[in-house]
């Protein structure tokens, strides 16, 4: 658990650079918004990504997203499942990139409590890994495809994949 917490802190530190760096005129293509099908968010998620560092063809970015499965719980009350994927990605290439990622997904899901059988929120940390391909078009269009296994609750390995579309700005 300590290792996962450190990783989350590291990724959040990457994001803390965003506010400082965004004042620069050169940062216009450092941001990306994308929709990921599959991937870190489970069935899908919307994500923001920030390019933290660029050294020649190598780029390092941090991402954070949001997803859900149910907005209402099983008693029909508004009580959404919340899934927050965060991660870091390393890209190598210019237009065509090799993409390697590592992250943690925080899940807060409503289950039945096995004591009083009322809805109960349970939080878990899950590890995400990814390796794939990313294409960045001239007008900022971004496409990603990859293999993205999940280690659920830091115990159960699941083969998983991702496809993502978005724009840099």
């Amino acid at each position: 658990m300590k290792r996962e917490t450190l990783l989350i802190i590291f990724i959040l530190l990457c994001f803390s650079n965003v506010t400082i760096a965004q004042n620069s005129e050169n940062n216009r293509t450092k941001n990306a918004l994308f929709i990921e099908l599959g991937g870190y968010g489970g069935y899908g998620s919307i994500n923001y990504e920030y390019l933290v560092k660029k050294i020649n063809k190598l780029k390092l970015s941090a991402r954070i997203g949001l997803s859900t499965y149910n907005l209402n719980d099983y008693t029909n009350k508004f009580n959404p499942d919340v899934i927050i994927p965060i991660g870091i990605n390393a890209y190598y290439g210019l237009k065509h990139n090799i993409d390697i990622g590592l992250g943690q997904t925080i899940t807060s899901v409503i289950y039945v409590d096995n004591q009083d059988y009322q809805p109960k929120r349970e939080q878990r940390l899950n590890t995400n890994l990814s390796i794939g391909y990313r294409y960045v078009g001239e007008r900022g269009f971004v496409f990603k495809i990859g293999y993205a296994p999940i280690i659920e609750n830091q115990k159960m390995f699941r083969h998983w994949s991702l496809v993502a579309f978005g724009y840099t700005f």
């Binding site: 149910n70 719980d73 008693t75 039945v112 096995n114 899950n126 999940i150």
Partner: protein, 272 residues
């Protein structure tokens, strides 16, 4: 602009009126969920979450798949193999309940809903007797079939008696011997044969004096359902996994629909 708007409204009205004409509404059809909210939902079938959501959705009740553990606990689970949907390998009957109660579904990333015993379910449903339940009895075992069936019937009778469910439970099975033994154990059970074809089910139901036939909507016609009704047999249909299948099912005039599109069928029958 106004002309386009008028045309659009007229077309919409025409479409709505066609839909209603095509539907033979029978508000006496009993709406049951299929294992709760049905297949391909984020809540897996037969979980507490899925069943309670279904009961809160305006249905009359739900179908539940029922299996027996090695130590004779009835568990709500659909498939033969636990590995199809959960983190365990084997059949329900390979395990004692203490080994199953910590198991969980793995169908969807991050969602680990637990398996459920019927005792857990019925002891935690508010206003239990206001709901109807169909038990789809799955007789998966690697042990002696006859002893297994006796143990199954014994557990089923105990749970029905414990929660006073006799008047609001229907029991269905593909196994004729099992149905005969159930009928011998209590004449008041409402038993359904779940056959491969309507004709086969019809003959068995008449021979054994059963309450009805459970059959896929694809395998039965409106005329066959009318024949069943004229012989005092009820008909429950399932496999209505889309909105069109719900409408097709309603038009056949069955007594029960076990649907995978719960909200649609409730809206169709209760509010149209």
């Amino acid at each position: 602009m106004k002309k386009h708007f008028t045309t659009t409204v007229l077309l919409a009205l025409l479409f709505i009126s066609c839909s209603k004409d095509d539907l033979r509404i029978n508000n006496n059809i009993i709406v049951l969920g299929h294992g709760g909210m049905g297949i391909n939902q984020t809540y897996p079938m037969n979980t507490f979450e899925s069943i309670i959501k279904c009961l809160n959705a305006g249905t009359n009740g739900t179908e539940i798949d029922v299996q027996l553990t090695k130590d004779s606990v009835l568990v709500a689970y659909h498939s033969k193999n636990l590995s199809d949907h959960t983190n365990l390998i084997g059949t329900i009957n390979d395990f004692n309940w203490s080994e199953i109660e910590n198991a969980f579904y793995v169908s969807t990333p991050y969602l680990h809903y637990p398996l459920l015993s019927l005792d857990q379910l019925f002891s935690n449903i508010p206003n239990l007797n206001e709901h109807l339940f169909t038990f789809d009895c799955k007789l998966y075992t690697n042990s002696n079939a006859l002893n297994f069936k006796e143990a199954y019937i014994n557990s089923l009778s105990k749970i029905i008696d414990k929660y006073d469910l006799k008047s609001n439970v229907y029991i269905e099975s593909q196994d004729t011997i099992f149905l005969i033994k159930l009928k011998e154990s209590d004449l008041d059970y409402k038993l359904f044969i779940y056959p491969p074809s309507f004709d086969e089910g019809f003959n068995i139901a008449l021979d054994l004096g059963l309450y009805g036939i459970t059959i896929s909507t694809s395998d039965v016609s409106r005329e066959q359902i009318e024949i069943a009704h004229s012989n005092n047999l009820k008909v429950a249909i399932w496999n209505t996994h889309s909105e069109n299948k719900n409408i097709e099912g309603v038009n056949k005039g069955p007594d029960f629909i076990q649907t995978d599109k719960v909200k649609h069928l409730v809206n169709l029958l209760r509010y149209d």
